[in-house]
């Protein structure tokens, strides 16, 4: 037993553990020094945390799309980031035309709901088409094939939007009722937009959980994700359930697109890439295939990315640490893949068959 274990440890393992330990040490020492300096006030930390929670909510919504599809097809839908972008983009046209016509100013609530509806519908329709045209014919092919197709579809959608609408950045309309801040107590306050993002995302995630847990279709989705042949023996139309899964993930991505635009107020054809890959990171972090994990992973990544750079790096004297937030996020992805490839809640998945 003992000798067996010693034999299994090789140079790469040792090296990776050293790197991991060094990073951990860096985080601990950095955080300690930053906090000791007392350069940042409690209000600043609070703002960063709330921002992190809001951006994490968006990641979580997108991550659910990756994880639901993976759960059912064991396939990573790399075009999901473009499903998100498409919803955001077409939603932008709805929002900005309502803004120009004055409709948004008069009926802000209705205007926002219409924006969501347009974005979610766009994403859903595209995802369903994508499944039908690009993925379904390849079901049963080796796993690399749909993966490559997904990457191809991702580029296809990006270049379609680029071709149709150009490469310039578009400024998202500023919606009056979600501007400004809400005071909490003393100097603490929260931006209205962040409240909207966090609450809207929480509501949708709650609805998703209820749907998957308690509806007939939701239960069938879980059954199909375990065993397609046995699910068919129950009378479940597996193809229909797969389409529903794509549609559900896409609707959440469309909604995430609107929320993302509310926060960052910029629309471009490549806007899906970074949030998409972050959400993918979040899904892997939580344990891909596991919806609770995707939500947890999204929130964690959002907060980690928001607080991390300042907390870990500022005290070490690194200038403009916030520029390094993406580096931090992707370092975490690599670390998770090396040390815990199943993610936080991934035990259950590792047991299921591919």
């Amino acid at each position: 037993m003992q000798s067996y274990r010693i034999k299994k440890i090789n140079f790469t393992d040792v090296f990776m553990w050293v790197v991991g330990a060094a990073l951990l040490l860096l985080i601990v020492v950095g955080s300690f020094l930053t906090l000791q300096e007392e350069k940042y006030t409690a209000v600043q930390w609070f703002d960063l945390a709330v921002f992190g929670l809001a951006q994490g909510s968006v990641y979580a919504l997108i991550a659910l799309g990756y994880t639901l599809v993976y759960g059912i097809l064991r396939m990573i839908n790399f075009a999901h980031s473009e499903i998100f972008m498409s919803g955001a983009f077409i939603g932008y046209f709805a929002a900005s035309s309502m803004q120009k016509s004055g409709f948004m100013q008069e009926n802000p609530l209705l205007g926002i709901l219409i924006t969501f509806f347009v974005a979610m519908t766009t994403s859903t329709v595209l995802a369903v088409l994508l499944e039908r045209i690009a993925y379904r014919p390849l079901r049963g092919a080796p796993r690399l094939v749909p993966l490559i197709t997904a990457i191809g579809a991702s580029f296809f959608l990006q270049y379609v939007f680029r071709g149709l609408f150009g490469t310039h950045n578009r400024a998202y309309p500023e919606i009056e009722i979600i501007k400004g801040t809400v005071p909490i107590s003393g100097d603490f306050q929260i931006q209205k937009i962040q409240i909207v993002v966090i609450l809207a995302a929480a509501l949708m995630m709650a609805l998703l959980v209820l749907f998957v847990q308690y509806t007939k279709t939701g239960k069938a989705m879980r059954a199909v994700s375990e065993d397609k042949a046995v699910a068919a023996l129950m009378g479940i139309d597996v193809d229909k359930i797969i389409v529903n899964t794509f549609a559900l993930g896409a609707a959440l991505a469309g909604a995430a697109g609107v929320l993302y635009c509310f926060m960052f107020r910029i629309v471009t054809f490549y806007m899906g890439f970074i949030p998409g890959i972050k959400a993918f990171t979040a899904a892997v972090l939580g344990g891909i295939g596991n919806p609770a994990g995707a939500m947890l992973g999204g929130l964690f990544l959002g907060i980690f990315e928001s607080l991390g750079p300042t907390l870990f790096l500022d005290g070490l004297g690194i200038p403009a640490p916030y520029q390094l937030k993406d580096v931090i996020a992707f370092t975490m992805l690599v670390m998770v893949l090396i040390f815990r490839p199943t993610g936080i809640l991934g035990e259950r998945l590792s047991k299921t068959k591919a």
């Binding site: 375990e226 046995v230 023996l233 129950m234 009378g235 479940i236």
Partner: protein, 237 residues
């Protein structure tokens, strides 16, 4: 007219010719058993009947209706349900949820509730465990669940693939008692078994399969007395 009749079925896995012209028929109210050694094609026969595999040749008729145009999930609506080999319970779903999936093809809530009560009275153990995640059930309990789940569809024909596999003798007895009871209540049963002695004990007729073909078919009594069957499947010399 037979309830289920299969004529000259040929099923392939890629180039592997797994079923080489299978014909069999089952009358309403019967228990018919299909016995044979490993790899004979018993599971393939059941998977072909249930629509999971499409035969390259031959016809499957239920009450005279050709089933070949239906997909697996549609065959359930026609009245055939299956207890798959290895049970195939949804491990992460609870006992109740598994049973609900069995009733997926049913719309009438009152009927579903009645079926659920019936399953719970056949298998009181399942009632005790109804909120438990199925992956944590014992093998015997999983077999009960798979059987109960198939009954939730209210089938006219129940296909059972090796229900005794991996069970202790007491549990095998219990499952076989239940099979007889289900049959008495009106469900026709096609029972695939390696445990030929027990299967022939409750069946009225049997078919013996070997390498994708049916080599013998007779009443259960005569098969039990047949020297080749005794030698090959009943472990007698």
């Amino acid at each position: 007219m037979s309830l289920l009749s299969i004529e000259n079925i040929h099923t392939y896995y890629g180039n592997i010719h797994a079923l080489k012209g299978i014909s069999l028929h089952i009358e309403k109210g019967e228990i018919v058993t299909l016995i044979g050694g490993n790899g004979a094609g018993k599971t393939t026969t059941l998977r072909t009947i249930s629509g999971l595999l499409t035969p390259r040749e031959g016809t499957i008729r239920l009450n005279g209706e050709d089933l070949s145009k239906y997909k697996a999930h549609e065959v359930v609506y026609k009245g055939i349900s299956m207890v798959p080999e290895g049970r195939g319970v949804f491990a992460r779903l609870t006992v109740t949820e598994n049973l609900e999936m069995g009733a997926y093809s049913r719309k009438d809530t009152a009927e579903i509730n009645r079926n659920m009560e019936r399953v719970f009275s056949l298998f009181p153990r399942l009632k005790e465990r109804r909120t438990q995640v199925s992956g944590t059930l014992s093998g015997g309990e999983q077999q009960m669940l798979a059987t109960g789940r198939a009954l939730m569809a209210n089938p006219s024909v129940l296909l059972m693939d090796e229900p005794s596999m991996g069970l202790a003798p007491v549990l095998v007895e219990l499952i076989f008692d239940i099979i007889q009871q289900i049959n008495k209540e009106g469900t026709t049963i096609l029972l695939v078994e390696q445990n030929a002695l027990m299967a022939l004990g409750i069946a009225s007729r049997g078919y013996v399969m070997q390498t994708g073909q049916i080599v013998l078919s007779d009443t259960a009594e005569k098969l039990k007395a047949d020297p080749t069957v005794q030698k090959a499947y009943l472990g007698m010399e």
